[in-house]
Amino acid sequence: MIEIDNLHKKFGDTEVLKGVSLSIAPGEVVSILGASGSGKSTLMRCMNGLAGLNGGSLLIDGLDVSKPRELREIRKRCATVFQHFNLYPHLSVLDNITLAPMDVLGRKKAEVEAEAYALLKQVGLADRADAYPGQLSGGQKQRIGICRALAMQPRYLLLDEVTSALDPEMTGEVLDVLAALARSGTTMIFVTHEIAFAREISSRIVFLDDGVVRADMPTDRFFAEDGGYGDERIARFLAKMRNK
């Protein structure tokens, strides 16, 4: 369970999150939408502890992100996939995937490696285990990024604009992997620009606007006349995204 209550976040004098409240239950697939600058990426950085809070609280399974000891526990349960992949350039694909499970969870090498191979097979990259990130295409890198996150066997998977840095022809291969994952019951939180994908995959939409939650409703309703489209600002956003 992720419980966010009246969350505030400032960068210098500008307040990016102005009292966000939200809760996400296990098994949910939630997409956080919003224009750039709406605070959605910052919200995600608060969830994995990369950005500190200036007010309010953020609990994951009852653990407080603002307490270092509890954050350490949270990071074992939450894994992040990044917009720019952020793979470790000096490690092979296999080592990228197995580093944290072995080091943070203290699991055995043989076991973790067997799982890593299974994950690589799932994303169609079984033959690239010994390659280095520099030898892969963007779409391949992001699929490895997903494997790296999944190898932690996380309860919560945070996905931050995972297709934004990809060429259009590579977006599909990544989205296919994610769609399969969503059906498997992992809790997933997307920050995304892909409206169509959000509509297809998520059960719930959270719309952030200027640092506050402007809409939080089931996907079907959000994309209906009386839901998101009933709100003038959301309608304008959706129209803009559609025209892209």
Partner: protein, 209 residues
Amino acid sequence: MFWDGFLVTASVSALSIVGSFLIGVIVAFGAVSRRPFLRKAARGYIGLFRNIPFIVQVFFFYFGLPEIGVYIDAFTTGTMALSIAVGAYAADVLRSGIENVDTGVIEAAEVSGLSRFKIYRRIILPIALRVSLRPLGSVFINLVLTTSILSTITLNELTGNAKIVASDTFRPFEVYFFLLLFYCVLTYLLSLLINLWHRRLNRFMRGAE
């Protein structure tokens, strides 16, 4: 005679390369630390030892240490002084290597739950080293050339021995010219080695982010 000198030069160089590298790593991490005191101390160290001639530093230790009751030979004093001085140069190179590590990669390591120490050891340092290998190589090549200064504290390495040979044979020009050539060859071989190592380490490093 020449061979003896070469052995001394080689062993002082090897030991000092190891010593200055270790000092360099520690000071570099101090220089990028979040604690203002550590930062200042580390940057002060780098500034101090880079702005005082090595020969003055060597004399400080060589003549000073016996005054406080520390009696060590020229070899040990030289190795220590070289490690301290070149450590400052190595630290500066490594510092800029560390500062240039992609923050996204560090964040990825952070959110995966790796401890701060592990992030430094497994992620930041290996990446910074790969980037800094070439400039670090020229720092170490300079170290080898600087060992010649240890002849002024009576250490009979290559240059110290050459001085003796030059005055024994009355052929200083030939002796020193040959010695210069020899240093050139030595540093050239060293730079080849570094290039090779650089290429090996960095073969897959491009475009990973």
